[in-house]
Every structure is written in C-alpha cells, then in structure tokens.
Amino acid sequence: METAERIDPPARADGGTNYLNVNYGVRSWLLTVDHKRIGLLYLGSITVMFALGGFFALLIRLELLTPAGDLVGPDTYNKLFTMHGIIMVFFFLIPSIPATLGNFLIPMMIGARDMAFPKLNLASWYIFIVGALFTLWAVFTGGVDTGWTFYTPYSTVGSHTKVIPVAVGVFINGFSSILTGLNFIVTIHRMRAPGLTWMRLPLFIWALYATSIIFILGTPVIAITLALVGVERAFHIGIFDPALGGDPVLFQHLFWFYSHPAVYIMILPSMGVVSELITCFSRKAPFGYTFIAISSLAIAFLGFLVWGHHMFVAGMSPYAGLIFSFLSFAVAIPSAVKVFNWTATLYKGAIAFKAPMIYALGFIGLFTIGGLTGLFLASLGLDVHVHDTYFVVAHFHYIMVGGALMGYLGGIHFWWPKITGRMYPESLARIAALIVFLGFNLTFFPQFILGYLGMPRRYHSYPDEFQVLNVMSTAGASILGIGYLLPFCYLLWSLRYGERASSNPWGATGLEWQTPSPPPTENFPVTPIVDVPPYHYSEEEAVLV
C-alpha cells in the first residue's frame, strides 16, 4: 500500500477552503480551537515580546559601547538586563518553538485532526497573554532590577522595584507551559494515526515529547518558588531570609531545579527542528534514528540532575560540586550523539543549501561551541575563574541564540509554505541567514575573550582596555539586528506577494507534507495510514537531487 508515500495531493483543498480562509474576523481567531490558528496567535504574541526584549538588548549594547556609564545610570542598567532576560527567557524562548511550530505541527505530523484538548490549548494562550500583560505592566511602570534569576534575599528584602507583579506574571505564564506540555504528551500518546508507531515518529515529535516532560515536571517547582518569593516579600516571613532563619541558597536550588532544565526546554525543540532540516536537505534518512530519538529523552532526564553547576561558588560542599560537575559532563554525551549523528547524516547526502539548511548548519556549529564552553563552566576549578563574567554570558547566548533561535528561524522558514501557502524569497532568505550567522559570532565571540580576561557581567561601566572587544560586540549586535529585521519584513511581504506553495515544496517525507498548503481545518481529508519507516527517502534521491 502506497498511501503513506509522498503522494502529491492537489495544491489546494476542495473549493480552496483552508484553515485561514474558512472564516474571517477577530472573533473567529480569538475564539478558535484550531491548533494551527492557536500556533499563529502565539507566533504573533512572541514576536512582539522578542522585539521588546531585543530593544532592551540594543540599549544594553549601546551602553557598553563606551567604558564610562554614560547612556544610562547603574539602576536603569540593572533594570535593562533584568527585563531583557525575563522577557526573552520566559516570554520568548520557552514558548518559541513548542507553542508556535509545535502547536501547528504536532497534530499534522501524527495524522490527527487536532490536539487532544483544543479548548485547553486556547486557554494556554490566554494564560500566556495574562502573564505577559502582568509583566509588561510592571515593565512600563518602573521595571524590576533583580536579574532574571530573582536571587534572594535581594529580591525579597533588598530591591525596591516591582518584583511581585513580575513574579506573578512569570507564575501565571508557568501554567501556560504546564498545560501546553500536558496537551502535547496526551496528544502524542493517544492521537497518532493508524500505523504511526513510536519508532516511526518524526524526530521533531520526539524532541517535543522530551520538552513536554520538562514542562510538566519542572515548571510547577518554579511556580511554587516564585509564589514563595512573593509571599515572603509581602509578609517578611523569612523562608529565604538568613536574618530570619531562612536559607537563601535553598532558593537557588529550587530556582535552578527548574531553570536549568528550562535551558533544555529551549534547545531540545530546536534540535528537533534541525533533525528535520538536515534529513530533508540531505535527502537521506537520519543516521541512527533511534539514537537521536532516545538522546532527547536522555537530555531531558539528565537535565534534571545538573542544576548545582550554577552554584559552585554559592557555598556548596566539594562532594556535591564533584557530583554536579560529573553529571554536567554526562549531559554532553546525548548532546554529542545528536551532533555526530547530524554530521553523519550529511555524509554522502545530496545537500541543498536552502535557507533553512543554512540555519541548521549554523546551529550545529554554534551549538557545538556553546556546548563545549559549557564543559569549561562545568569544571570546578575553571568555573571559579570565569564565574559571573562575560564568558558565561557568551556561553549561554551561543546555546540560546546561536542554538535555540537559529533552529526557530530555520523551522519558521521550512514550514512557512505549509503555514501560509506562500514561498518566502529564497535568495534574500539565504543572505539573511548568513547575516544572522556572521552578526551573531561578531556579537558574542568577543565576549568569550572579555570574560576570560575578567570583565564581570551586569556592570554598566568597565575599564578602558576592554573597549575594543566591546565595540566589536556592539557592531555585531547591529548586524544581528538587521539579520532579524530582514526575515520579519520579507516574510510579511511574502504573505501577499510570495509565490504560491505546492503541498510539498521541499519533497520532504512526513504527514504534514501530504496535505494541501495551507491545510484544511481538519488537517487531512482522510485519516492517513502509515506503513513505511520514517524519513523514507529513496536511494536514488540521495545521488540525483
């Protein structure tokens, strides 16, 4: 039976009805339970948050252009990096791929009509919006200056800024993550099309399944922790206040128990996207499908055991430090499995350098640098030297921007034809991808050197000898900004003027490409039956294309 092969259905569904034009009006969007429309609601909301977080980043880089603290004062600077961090982490990176591409693609990739709980899905978006509005209200009426980590006792007794509203915003937003993760897990377990066994699932689904596990196991802990920060700040009861018998380091344990796995919430979905892109544009099945799939679960599991490496200098016993250091090295194994398997997939593949592929290749390089410098930080001795310097800043931006964001952009380009029914302008997109790659490296590579030379993070002024590298970094940030503006403009342009997309413009495998672009509301005219292994690219294809 060939039903699950890459048949080419008519480019548009019967009568041209799809999820975008089935009905119109604000009401039809705000009350929709269609997972595809909810994905687009998220896409719009997090783009706004990204722009705001990027604006704060721009001000930070402008301040650091000169050694003197001349553009903003120290208090304002504290607020700038705090709000950059909170908005980017909680309101952009964590929802980014899961809430947009995940919402859009999971039911389509597994041959379902919708998520298991469509109304809950819409509720998750409203919860996200309420959390975001709380935070934005706090941002625009004075801001917060604790750093995105809310460390106690500064956040409970020291700071005179709007800590409680921001904590409430992040707390509310947490329930959006929890419910999204719950929905994904149940959907992947219970809604798969006939024949779609676990070992036939796309690697993107495996990655989001692992991400969802972190969502549901980690997020409740940060929720209760931030609630306690709020309670303590309001009533001064001393849970984390050493003056009242509490233990501030306990806060750090609870905070990082979520917030380190949260790093994997950000990177795992990107890894899933990259797995899809590498296989499609190499015209080959992935090398070691099972290992890539299981390594996602391994990362999710090990990710829960390494939080202590954020606290090596916060008063931790040498034995605890030793174990956390060892476990942090252990996470590198499943991560390296992925990198090696991607490169082995490229080997003898018929590689097409389309824009999404450029993002994917960029991801591999930047994630490797980010991951390996993570091992520097997991080493107890070296961590003492570079702790709280720009080395750390560069490291996690290589993971979160060089990794997570590159994967997000690659995925948006790859599935853009499916989402909108239009092609983006290919050559412009390739140029933008290269600009992002170059701008990113120019921004953050100098920060590794700055950190190693001893420039501490979170200061608005610095000694003169660091200026050259800081100027390079700020110049890179401007280039990076252009790299982000370009896709924003041409993707909007393509909505109206882009070439119409066929149902499967990349010749990719996967159920989502077997339905028209854009898909009808119920995704598939007939529920597909899967009887082939995943990534069923033929031998000839790898040679000829």
Partner: protein, 226 residues
Amino acid sequence: MSERATALAGQGNLPPATAHQFDDAVQQHEASGLGMWVFLLTEILFFGGLFTIYTVYRSLYPEAFGHASSTLDIELGTINTAVLIGSSLTMALAVHTAQVSRNGRLVALFLFATIALGSVFLGIKAIEYAQKFHEHHVPGPFFHYEGADPQQSELFFCLYFLMTGLHAIHMVIGVGILGVLGVMALRGRFGPDYYTPVELTGLYWHFVDIVWIFLFPLLYLVERHT
C-alpha cells in the same frame, strides 16, 4: 485497552460529548484519563517544592519544629483526617455507581455527601486557623511565640499555613467541581456509557486526600511519640 474501555465501546451508543478531534468515545476517555494523570504529576511537583523546603528546615531545626508541632490541635487534626478519608469513600462510591448504574440520584447523593464531608473538613480547618490566630502563631508582624527558638518556630508555622493553605485551596476547587457534577448527575448525564468527569474528579479528590495523609504526620505528629 482497558476492560472498562472495551465495555464502554461495547455500549454502541456514543455519548453526545465525543469531541470532533476524537475518533470514538474510547479514545476520548483514554485521552482524558491520561491528561488527568499528567496533571496530577504536575501537582505532585507543585506540592513537592513545599515538601522539599519542609525537609530542609526540619533537618536544620529539628527541635524547634518538634515543639512548634506540639502546639497544633491533635484532636481536630485527627478528626479531620478521618473526615477526609470518609469523603474519599463517598467519592469512590459515586464513581462506582456512575460506572455500573443509571441511577443519577444515587450518584448525586454520593457526590453531595462528599461535598458535605469536604465542607466539614474545611470548617474544622477554619476553627484551627482561628485558634492559631488568637494565639498569635500566624507568621508576620503580629507573630508571638513563648517557647524556645521563636524564629525557627515561625518557619514551621509559615510552612504549616502554606502547606495546609494550598491543600485547602485544592479542597475548595474540588468542592466547586463536585457541585457542578452533582447537578449534572441529577439531570441524568452520567451512566455506564459516560462517566469520565466523575472518574477524573475522583482521581483529583483522592490526590488531595493523599496530600493530607502526608501533611498530617509531618505537621501534627513530629513529637507525639515522646
């Protein structure tokens, strides 16, 4: 596929509530059940944060926690434990009745009995809170404690109010849901072909009950053996 789900499929007449994304009532039932279990998993982690904090501070300040624990009213606490276990029995009876019979009035009776017992629990809890309030054992600016280590005891009372308070919030939400289910049961909405909401609320109610089974010894019985 579970035996019960097979029986469900065998009924033939789909309940009106099969949503568009599901193929049949069995898939819907299983998806809803899994969703509830995953939700309870998040609840365990939610309470888990507080249990962790309790563990840390009790191991740091064992004596203060023991003394402070002795000031709680053990009789009211024990009565409440019995009341709550009784409410789990009526809840289980409601689920069972909905699964095997069309007797909506009996299902409603058990649901309202659960509400009654849950309300008794909350009432007794309110009396205990009032006592603590009069004794100035509520953490904050008016806190006053005669025994040794008042600061560390304040941490105990802080955790006592946070943990039992969070538990009570869950009880209140549960009572609200049970009220809606009771009305639905009276209208004959539940029976062997459709009882998912009753079953899932039962899971939730038992979970809240189990949390109390842990809270009771951790908060009331720290030093009672001496």
